[in-house]
Symmetry: C2
Subunit: 375 residues, 2 copies
């Protein structure tokens, strides 16, 4: 079965919407945040711990799983759900983002056929094409596969982006033709940088090709400004069908989720909650706090007052600081649990707010307390 | 309350005994294996995961916690149980072993007063004395504290060992006098290397001092032979009171646990199950297996057939090999769960065997299948 998206309620003051995404592995309420399991594991967490955070759908990386262990092994193991023992829905990205971000500039060559590049692991020469990406994802047997797209840098010119997105459209069409897994949905990706005309063109043409859902890509570059991200969303959303789920790729800062939802986005993913956790940082309603900071040395409170996660219910800040300071991996695991729970609770609260017609009030209240810079 | 040890049953053919150790944090059946939480964390595992392995008592390291975060912080946090959120009993070692193993030879100076040494973290000059070790452990508030002893290398001469254990006896007496925590038991440690006369002397004199339990130390040196270890146990046990618990320090190879139990040991500890796990190794009834071995690449079976641990119930060998190969810490966590469960199931089976008067048959059957060398 292909995913089915139902809108439960639309916000009256913004483009925010409350929905549900029906998949072969359960129904996910939206807006939703997807934890990232790059190499078929959410870093440092068992699938049980991920589930305990209230997770619905999670993401895994096609590029990484193609290289190691290889899609054939995942296939032999019964597909990605059984391989990583995650019973909920799984989305795989196309590998495009990794090919463009991990391979050095000089070590990749983009042609009409696909991308030649060197493996970031052993320098092996490889080629990823739209067909290959889909073939790998078909074998991984995720619930949702993504089209193979080019992810140009934030510095790309209008001309470069135009040529790039036209090629990405041709790639999307080729990928769609190559797609053979009847139990897997395929999403298209809108590109076009911060330009209104390009986003519109990309959205309209991608929609014409016909996909089970639509993503907005090219917004999670390190050097991307927040303004460019908001523009990219604003310029894409009006041309996407209302009845299909919308996914903002690679975005997961607490504030960005609010901005995305307000603009009509349904699902998000980001490595941030687990990455910052390993560096000792935790999300709180007042901004990020950093356990390398000596002020937490004798702090007997939980990471975040009122939080219902396993970390906050069982451990003191002084203990978390100790684990982070001495380099015990349990510190990163506990903070990852907290950070994932933080973002999933945020989307839970957002859903409740949309339901009660007070999304914008919720957002304003959130902003009032949240220090974007943090510690 | 001090710990109370009850013997439920003595084996008729060997010195093995089935017992229970009553503590302020619950009763532990013996023989028992203690997982090691060096820095107040069993590496990579939450206390819930440790408990799920069937753990009773766990061990934490005085030396490490003294250096970081410091016993005063643990004290302010409500003691070690609350700090690491472990509800079962906790034993702390004296710090002696770490002082002797972590500080380089030239960087320590043993005097009658105690040991001068340099911190392995920052080179700071420190001194650990019997009084200081007990004072730290009193503050950590473990259920069982250990006397501060010298741990001489396996190469030490009879003369050196004799002088050393006499000093260790004086240290034990000083530590006992310094001990102020009414809710904490204090154990004495028998030293004397592989020599019958020294072990007997050390055991008899330690017993005379009067402790709540007795440990056999100096048997877990890297260069110690198995024969020397068995001798050390055999030469100590006859002089220890039957009604007090006996602890073999730093020993946890599956075969060594059997040998220890046969000789009258009740509790064991070792970092082995978590350490080898992080290197990709798992205990099985047929010996250690190594997931770096390519033969597990497409292996759909569990780590060990018939094992009831979280890892074996939920994951395939191919997935574990993938995690270990790519360096995902979840691999080490899952194998740690398996390895701890393996040793705890072993002592569970040993207890059952003693109860049913077939310990020696159990041991022989175990040896028949177990390949000591492994992969």
């Amino acid at each position: 079965m292909k995913v089915k998206f139902h809108i439960e309620k639309e916000d009256t003051k913004t483009k925010a919407r409350l929905g549900s995404l029906e998949t072969n592995h359960g129904t996910v309420e939206t807006p939703m945040f997807m934890p990232v399991g790059t190499r078929a594991a959410i870093k440092g967490l068992t699938p049980d711990q991920v589930k305990e955070c209230g997770s619905g759908i999670v993401l895994a990386n096609t590029y990484h799983l193609w290289l190691r262990p290889g899609e054939d092994i995942v296939d032999k193991c019964g597909g990605l759900h059984q391989f990583m023992n995650y019973e909920g829905p799984i989305l795989t990205d196309s590998g495009g983002y990794q090919v463009f971000s991990l391979a050095k500039k000089k070590e990749k060559d983009i042609t009409e056929e696909g991308v030649h590049f060197k493996s970031h692991i052993d320098g092996q020469e490889l080629m990823l094409t739209p067909e290959k990406s889909i073939e790998i994802q078909n074998k991984l047997d995720s619930d949702i596969a993504m089209s193979f797209d080019e992810c140009p840098p934030a510095s790309a010119t209008h001309e470069y982006l135009k040529n790039s997105l036209e090629r990405t459209l041709r790639w999307a069409e080729r990928g769609k033709k190559a797609h053979k897994n009847e139990n897997q949905s395929l999403f298209g990706i809108v590109q076009g940088g911060p330009y209104e005309d390009l986003r519109r063109y990309s959205a309209e043409e991608t929609v014409k090709l016909g996909f089970d859902g639509f993503a907005i890509g090219g917004v999670a570059n390190d050097d991307e400004s927040k303004e460019d991200m908001y523009h990219a969303i604003d310029y894409s959303i009006p041309y996407l069908p209302k009845d299909k789920v919308r996914y903002l790729m690679g975005v997961g800062e607490p504030m960005d989720i609010l901005e995305g939802v307000e603009r009509g986005v349904d699902i998000f993913d980001c490595v941030l909650p687990t990455r910052i956790a390993r560096h000792g940082q935790a999300f709180t309603k007042h901004g990020k706090i950093n356990f390398n900071n000596a002020k937490y040395k004798e702090d007997l409170g939980p990471v975040e007052e009122g939080c219902d996660c396993y970390c906050c219910k069982n451990f003191q800040r002084a203990y978390i600081r100790h684990l982070i300071t001495v380099g015990e991996s349990l510190g990163g695991t506990l903070l990852s649990i907290h950070n994932i729970r933080f973002l999933i609770r945020e989307v839970e609260e957002i859903r409740k707010a949309i339901k009660e017609d007070r999304f914008i009030e919720y957002k304003e209240d959130f902003i009032k307390h949240y220090q974007q810079k943090g510690e």
